[in-house]
Amino acid sequence: MTTDLTRATAAELADLLGAGATSSREVTQALLDRTAAVDGAVHSYLHVDADGALAAADDIDRRRAAGESLHALAGVPIAVKDVLTTRGLPTTCGSRILEGWVPPYDATLVTRLRAAGLPILGKTNMDEFAMGSSTEHSAYGPSRNPWDLERIPGGSGGGSSSVVASFQAPLAIGTDTGGSIRQPAAVTGTVGCKPTYGGVSRYGLVALASSLDQAGPCSRTVLDSALLHEVIGGHDPMDSTSIDAPVPPVVEAARRADVAGMRIGIVKELTGEGFQAGVQARFDEAVQHLVDAGAEVVEVSCPSFTYALAAYYLILPSEASSNLAKFDAMRYGLRVAPDGVDAPSAEQVMAATRDAGFGDEVKRRIILGTYALSSGYYDAYYGSAQKVRRLIADDFAKAFESADVLVSPTAPTTAFRLGDKLDDPMAMYLNDIATIPANLAGIPGLSVPSGLADEDGLPAGFQVLAPAMADDRLYSVGAALEARLTAVWGGPILGRAPELTEVSR
């Protein structure tokens, strides 16, 4: 057999496994070998669970051999972002404060992965508590972009984007609070989807901002993301914000890839000025491809988006400061005694622990949120931000009256160099300018590769947004664009990335 199992898509692996052409153990071992070869350079993983993954693979192989009816993705391995609890596997959220913590329970979506028979390869790196756009805020060092190891793989889900881009896994789970699935996908030439808020259970997702967080699929193809979306989506009684409705028909939409007659809205405020020339050029070409495929283009204006970043950086820190109060050094995680204090109080221990256990960005946001929520400033900051949030949701509602989906470049630039924006928090925040509005409104968004920017030869992303619970439209548009661009390129975009084994040697 000549198929390179590490390069095969999840859909291809599912077919091979179903046909008995390979085993889950063979696939899992090939991916673990790939990790052994390249992850020293890429650093996608915080923890690799070779034994657990192989045991799960063997179990699926045994059940398949016994003639059991299995899920289509049974035996296809996956990597999970380290912000989701995994029973028996460390879960650190990229933070020292949770170093070594092994949760006693699985997140609902992890339960669903296990039930469908997907071996879990390991836990992927991330900015601490998902705060960042580069993985440079991980307490365990950054992940690197397989296209150029001196550049960022995006964030916060840079471990999940780089793990699929470097062929260490065909699938990964990400979480997206302001773009942490979509921006990493854009800068690594991969696909990522943030489902409708409430579409995927948040039970066991360590909360950053509860009204914005949403877990979703990361992969190398649109169909693979749809297949994974279907596994993890759907109602969960353990999450009171989970939507009690069937998962939208995402797989069918990805397979049909039909945009004929669809109205594609270009958001005026999310194009042009502020976007790198090569990113904009690939975006414009992508729109033309969709027109060639039968879509109709309209321009829409969402004037409140100008305030989205400001509103987001008040709402997120406010919710985060509250959510992260649970890290109190009492029940789990790090406990540090303050220097030079005899018999310190619980409060002193808590303050010393949080100083030692949290990184700079987490401290900045907790303090900013504490300020925004404090008496006397609440109305001016948090209250105003909530009103802007309403304006943004209203802008979307109006835009979706004249368009079935909205589109923009996913991120304003291609991957920047590690270190470039680390000392300038505001510059880092601007990476999420195009992705944040969807989180504020709770609508779904997907990023699909649009090509390589002329000026640096690095991947750019095309973002599609749809109304709440119309996630299937994202996959129609994403798959239609992917089919046309792959034909133009003569193969998947990642085929043009440098060989990692060569780079790392």
Partner: protein, 98 residues
Amino acid sequence: MADLTRDDVAHLAGLARIDLSDAELDRMVGELGVILEAVATVQQAPIADVEPMSHPMPIVNVTRPDVVRPSLTPEEALAGAPEAEQQRFSVPRILDEE
């Protein structure tokens, strides 16, 4: 808007239970000032008479049937504790001495 002072940041850090060092306080005053100036632009948006939005979906109270179901064992619940004693979380003193 009044500028954030070093004392303000120290006070906020106290409220947030983070024992910042002097060097961290010095750095954070400047960084937070820049961020605050940027986020304060929300006040310039046309938000008069706009209903605040706290959540993407209309929030309704969700309940479940009041029946016993499996949960963590005491051992599992205590497995991650920095210190445990007699099947309980062991914590530092919670009262001041005076």
